[in-house]
């Protein structure tokens, strides 16, 4: 797929491949195959695809959690080897887990401190964010008692503590109740309005349709589609109707290339 790569973007992937060795290193699985795409500042970018399409692997590369086998990645206009850019990145893991012996306040303050924020600032922001995500009454409770939805809210608070210019959300709504989902929508909208970038990995097409400016559909480690939601679903797409998008995505998953 021909993609115009913009160095002044929030994230740029240029022919990025990743192969994992399996079976004592005798075989390899291709998780990403020459993926090229560019994500602009101020946009909400959706990454969708079937299971094992390479979505999480792609964002993990952007965050230096996983190393590419080949290709080039730019994060916030710098090479990914420049870790200082991670000070302005927020990340919500698809299945968040924090040390069970910590309480909510310790998680957000501790993870905030790791971004280099001064102690006083991180304390104030943690308090404010934990109130915002609805954990104000559980601040000093050990998180071992937290439900999945509460852990997701906590993960969102820790991802926002450094006021990130690039926010990566991997299945953030999994396990969230309705108020938490509304909060997530508000957060994404605020980020966009502030000119910051959000990458949203999701299976929830409704969320993708409502929130994303552009999307990329990954299938078998390759980009099967990249563009606007309307461009994929067609002109007959209506508000509150996911069926055209679902049909188009299903067709892509089934193998039809666009």
């Amino acid at each position: 797929m021909d993609v115009r790569l913009n160095a002044r973007a929030a994230a740029v992937f240029s022919k990025v491949s990743k192969r994992f060795r399996v079976g004592l290193g005798t075989r390899s699985i291709t998780a990403l195959d020459e993926v090229s795409l560019s994500i602009a500042w101020g946009e909400v970018f959706g990454l969708i695809g079937p299971n094992r399409a390479g979505k999480t692997t792609l964002v993990k590369k952007l965050l230096s959690i996983c190393h590419p086998t080949s290709g080039r990645i730019m994060r916030m206009e710098s090479s990914i080897s420049d870790r200082s850019t991670l000070a302005r990145v927020g990340y919500v893991h698809e299945n968040p887990a924090f040390p069970r012996y910590l309480n909510a306040r310790q998680v957000v303050e501790g993870y905030g401190r790791m971004t280099g924020l001064p102690r006083r600032e991180v304390r104030e922001r943690s308090e404010e964010l934990l109130h915002r995500v609805g954990l104000a009454d559980r601040l000093d409770e050990r998180i071992q008692n937290f439900s999945k939805g509460m852990l997701q809210r906590l993960a969102l608070a820790q991802a926002l503590v450094n006021d990130p210019r690039l926010l990566v959300l991997d299945e953030p709504a999994e396990g969230m109740d309705l108020p938490a989902r509304r909060l997530l929508d508000d957060v994404i909208e605020e980020r966009r309005n502030a000119g910051h970038t959000v990458i949203l990995v999701s299976h929830a097409l409704t969320d993708v349709r409502r929130l994303c400016d552009r999307i990329a559909v990954l299938r078998g480690g390759r980009v099967a589609y990249m563009g606007t939601v309307a461009g994929l679903a067609g002109q007959d797409m209506q508000d509150n109707d996911d069926s055209p998008l679902e049909s188009a995505v299903e067709a892509l998953y089934a193998g039809a290339q666009r």
């Binding site: 993990k60 230096s64 959690i65 200082s84 000070a87 990340y91 924090f98 501790g110």
Partner: protein
């Protein structure tokens, strides 16, 4: 304004991360119970030391003469007065525990009795029981920390990966240091106050305990990075300690036996292999010997090996300790490099 804000955001992320991980290790130690176990061992030992008493003459040594006396419990001591008339000094003191509830006849001198008690505490309780418990319990810290679900978010922070590993390693060492300081200084003070006998050499147990632990915990770090398995870390660390001790002691026994038999080496190749294994691996038996030498255990126990005789075969305590520390450093660097390349 934006630039100033960005500079503030980069305000010491490495130091902040390192400091947070050190504090986090203490939280982890509290949560998994090892803090309370080691605290209990220390408090009980200090409490026991607070009940120690020693009675008898100030010193049973006569002037600068070497110890030359019979202990009170010796079978020959049937008539103390007659023995003393003939110039034999009979040790007459008593070491008491539990404020006199338990009386132990002093076998030699007052100082010797207290010194022996300190050796039991430092060698038996702190160095063996305490360190083994610390090694077993803390072996699970890193595999838990390296769980992909929780480490992923930390890997997406600005601090380099080696800082994460170094922070946890130093955190565990500081935790063990706190335990060693509490135990050794606490028992030293308690015994000193109760008996009036102060043995500064006993305080060397603190750095020596830490040195011993740091070398073997480094290997546990390598196992954690390679396997992320608590079971492998616990068993692997213990098995490795036994293997290293066997290689260490076996090497000394091999050369000592050859010397005793008055033979030349029959198999230079075997000698080379034994020597190579000895110099590569850490040396817990030598560390133990250093521990006991520093604490002056030679007055009470036989030597583990004859260091002077082994010097002819290249043994040097300084080189031995330096090579053990070098092993730990190489293992730590290898762990950090491996962790740096790992995909999560």
């Amino acid at each position: 304004m934006q630039e100033r804000s960005d500079n503030m955001l980069m305000d010491r992320p490495i130091r902040s991360t390192f400091a947070w991980l050190v504090v986090d290790t203490f939280r982890q130690a509290r949560a998994n119970g090892i803090l309370y176990v080691l605290l209990a061992i220390s408090v009980i030992s200090i409490a026991v030391c607070c009940t120690v008493g020693v009675s008898g003459a100030e010193s049973l040594n006569i002037g600068g003469d070497p110890d030359d006396f019979l202990p009170r419990i010796d079978p020959q001591v049937t008539d103390t007065a007659r023995l003393e008339q003939s110039g034999v000094v009979v040790a007459g003191g008593t070491l008491t525990l539990g404020f006199g509830a338990i009386e132990v006849p002093v076998a030699r001198t007052r100082n010797g009795a207290v010194h022996f008690l300190q050796l039991l505490l430092a060698g038996g309780v702190a160095d063996t029981l305490g360190l083994m418990l610390a090694l077993i319990w803390t072996a699970g810290f890193l595999p838990t920390f390296l769980d992909p679900r929780s480490i992923s978010v930390l890997l997406a922070k600005p601090a380099p990966r080696w800082v994460l590993l170094a922070g946890k390693y130093v955190g565990v060492l500081l935790f063990v240091l706190c335990y060693a300081v509490l135990f050794v200084v606490g028992t030293w003070l308690a015994i000193g106050v109760r008996t009036g006998i102060w043995t500064p050499a006993y305080l060397w147990a603190v750095p020596l305990l830490l040195l011993h632990f740091s070398i073997f915990f480094a290997f546990s770090v390598l196992l954690a990075v390679a396997t992320r398995s608590t079971v492998v870390c616990v068993l692997g660390s213990l098995v490795f300690w036994v293997v290293a001790w066997s290689m260490n002691f076996g090497r000394h026994a091999f050369f000592s036996a050859t010397d005793l038999a008055g033979e030349t080496l029959k198999s230079p190749l075997l000698a080379w292999v034994v020597d190579a294994g000895y110099w590569i691996l850490p040396k817990p038996a030598d560390l133990g010997a250093l521990f006991y030498n520093t604490l002056g255990a030679g007055d009470h126990f036989g030597k583990l090996f004859d260091a002077e005789a082994l010097a002819a075969h290249g043994f040097s305590m300084t080189l031995s300790i330096a090579s053990s520390v070098a092993f730990a450093a190489v293992v730590l660097i290898a762990s950090m490099r491996s962790f740096g390349r790992e995909d999560y």
